[in-house]
């Protein structure tokens, strides 16, 4: 593939460079003086599947480790985590960073994923990123519970021991927990919860478990006691029986990302988890925003007629939903009036957290928030990073950011 870059220079595929690809993002950041604004991206990704050679040795069970590593020695094993046929995020190479990713050069000495991450963060003027995996988002569909547990364990050790320490504190994570096994989920919280760079834990929501099951209460309590954040990261699943009715990736992606968070958020709210864990911050990630007003209206409507089925609630479902947080991407900016209504309904000024989802195909730049005509200056600062700075206790990186955090009440004192 031939691409063209600055001044007509022909760029061949082995020269992909994230900084160059995102040159216009940098321009936007300079125009908007984003370096003066603390920006936190609560949902960015790396391709951990390209580092299985580093991750798998951290597995605890020798037999499971041998199954995975032995298979890889024969030329790679694509079956470590469930994958999907038909998942063409790159649109046949139209989103060029997918086919070209492997060609990007990094310097020896620091972890590749950190270097790539810094390139896009610097381009967008993002100060801190919450790093999530890519393939591991499907871990909830693994047919073997013990493999899910051990892969999460290995990934979390690798991430906290090998990757995050090289990031100059600019990356943090909400670690993937093996939600199919509540006891092991608790062990993850107890083991990793106090580690540097761990802001909380993440449940991949492509699953059919009930988040309100009694078995999870000790897990949530352990997070709440430690002042950690619980997040639910959504995803699509073409194998889900209902989605087998979809014939296009667009359809299964548009529906699936919202569907799983709608499902689990419904159980969370209707079972009064907000009453049980009032101090546990909960973030719903990567479902866009349009689903939130939909669900608020649906649940309030039903609750008014059937309060006996949700007796733990002391207020309407939408009120509990407004107590929780939502990551912004992918913002469905097509109808500005609808978006304004959504911001009002979710109390965006205090509950919305900017996320890019970079490098995935439908990423959002910070300008998607900054350029909204109906959002106040305070809300812009809060959404882009102020609220996340408070949640994850992140300090400013320069004096201007400090002044802005102070101005809008977001400065965290150590």
């Amino acid at each position: 593939m031939d691409l063209l870059a600055e001044r007509g220079r022909r760029v061949t595929v082995d020269e992909l460079n994230t900084t160059r690809l995102l040159a216009h993002a940098r321009k936007q950041a300079v125009q908007r003086k984003f370096d003066d604004v603390l920006i936190v991206d609560v949902d960015a990704h790396h391709y951990e599947n390209e580092h299985y050679g580093e991750i798998l040795p951290f597995m605890e069970n020798e037999v499971l480790k041998q199954i995975n590593m032995g298979g890889r020695a024969k030329g790679g094993r694509g079956t470590l985590v469930p994958t999907h046929a038909g998942f063409t995020q790159d649109m046949g190479g139209r989103v060029t960073r997918y086919p070209m990713r492997g060609t990007e050069k990094t310097e020896p000495g620091r972890h590749r994923d950190i270097q790539l991450g810094e390139r896009w963060m610097d381009a967008m003027s993002v100060d801190y990123s919450c790093l999530f995996p890519t393939g591991m988002l499907n871990i909830g569909m693994h047919p073997q519970k013990e493999m899910e547990v051990d892969l999460c364990w290995a990934y979390n050790r690798w991430l906290t021991e090998k990757v995050l320490p090289e990031s100059n504190n600019r990356f943090f994570s909400m670690l993937c927990i093996p939600f199919s096994d509540p006891e092991q989920s608790l062990r993850h919280v107890e083991t990793f919860g106090d580690r540097k760079g761990v802001g909380g834990f993440m449940v991949t929501t492509v699953r059919n478990l009930q988040v309100n099951d009694n078995a999870y209460m000790k897990v949530y309590r352990a997070m709440e006691e430690r002042g950690l954040v619980l997040s639910f990261h959504s995803g699509p699943n073409w194998s889900e029986p209902v989605f087998r009715a979809c014939n296009r990736f667009l359809s299964v992606h548009a529906l699936g990302f919202s569907f799983y968070n709608i499902l689990h958020c419904t159980n969370w709210v209707i079972n009064g988890m907000g009453e049980r864990f009032p101090k546990l911050p909960v973030v719903w990630i990567e479902s866009g925003l349009a689903w939130v007003p939909f669900l608020m209206q649906r649940l309030d409507h039903e609750y008014m007629m059937r309060p006996s089925e949700a007796p733990v609630l002391k207020k309407k479902p939408s009120d509990y939903m407004r107590d929780m947080y939502y990551s912004s991407q992918p913002m469905e900016i097509q109808d500005m009036a609808a978006m304004e209504q959504t911001f009002r309904m979710i109390n965006a000024e205090t509950q919305l957290l900017y996320s890019s989802d970079y490098p995935h195909w439908d990423f959002d730049l910070p300008s998607t928030i900054w350029d909204l005509p109906f959002v106040s200056e305070k809300a812009k600062h809060n959404i882009l990073g102020g609220t996340a700075a408070r949640l994850f206790k992140l300090p400013p990186r320069n004096a201007a950011q400090k002044a802005n955090l102070q101005k809008f009440g977001n400065l965290v004192t150590a």
Binding site: M1, L4, R7, V95
Partner: protein, 121 residues
């Protein structure tokens, strides 16, 4: 409005493209089917480098008279260029965003002088 040199006509093969910098502006110049087209390199979506991605024929779904689908085909006549950030597709001949033709990239005039190609910006 000034004329900005783009390249030599003889070195500008069909299917080629150049990105020209005019002050702070960037313009993508394409040569397609013997004609030149020049558009702003700032995508109407989130400002990505709209002219720096793939050029690829429009995808069509052909319907039979009884409204059943014959499947997907590449167009023989309509070429698109695709913003590499998220895939917005633009009509090569008009600069319109094909998902909403009310949106259109700013276009620029091209002049050929002997063996030299210029964009007026």
């Amino acid at each position: 409005m000034a004329e900005q040199f783009v390249g030599k006509l003889s070195e500008f093969k069909d299917g080629d493209r150049r990105i020209v910098f005019v002050g702070d502006n960037e313009i993508g110049v394409f040569r397609h089917d013997g004609k030149f087209y020049a558009y702003s390199n700032y995508c109407l979506h989130q400002g990505g480098p709209a002219c720096e991605g793939l050029t690829i024929a429009k995808v069509e779904e052909r319907l039979r008279p009884d409204k059943t689908s014959e499947g997907l085909f590449f167009s023989d006549t309509e070429m698109h260029f695709v913003c590499p950030w998220h895939g917005y597709e633009y009509d090569m001949k008009t600069g319109e965003c094909v998902s909403d033709r009310k949106l259109r990239l700013r276009s620029y005039k091209i002049v050929e002088k002997g063996d030299e190609v210029y964009v007026v910006a």
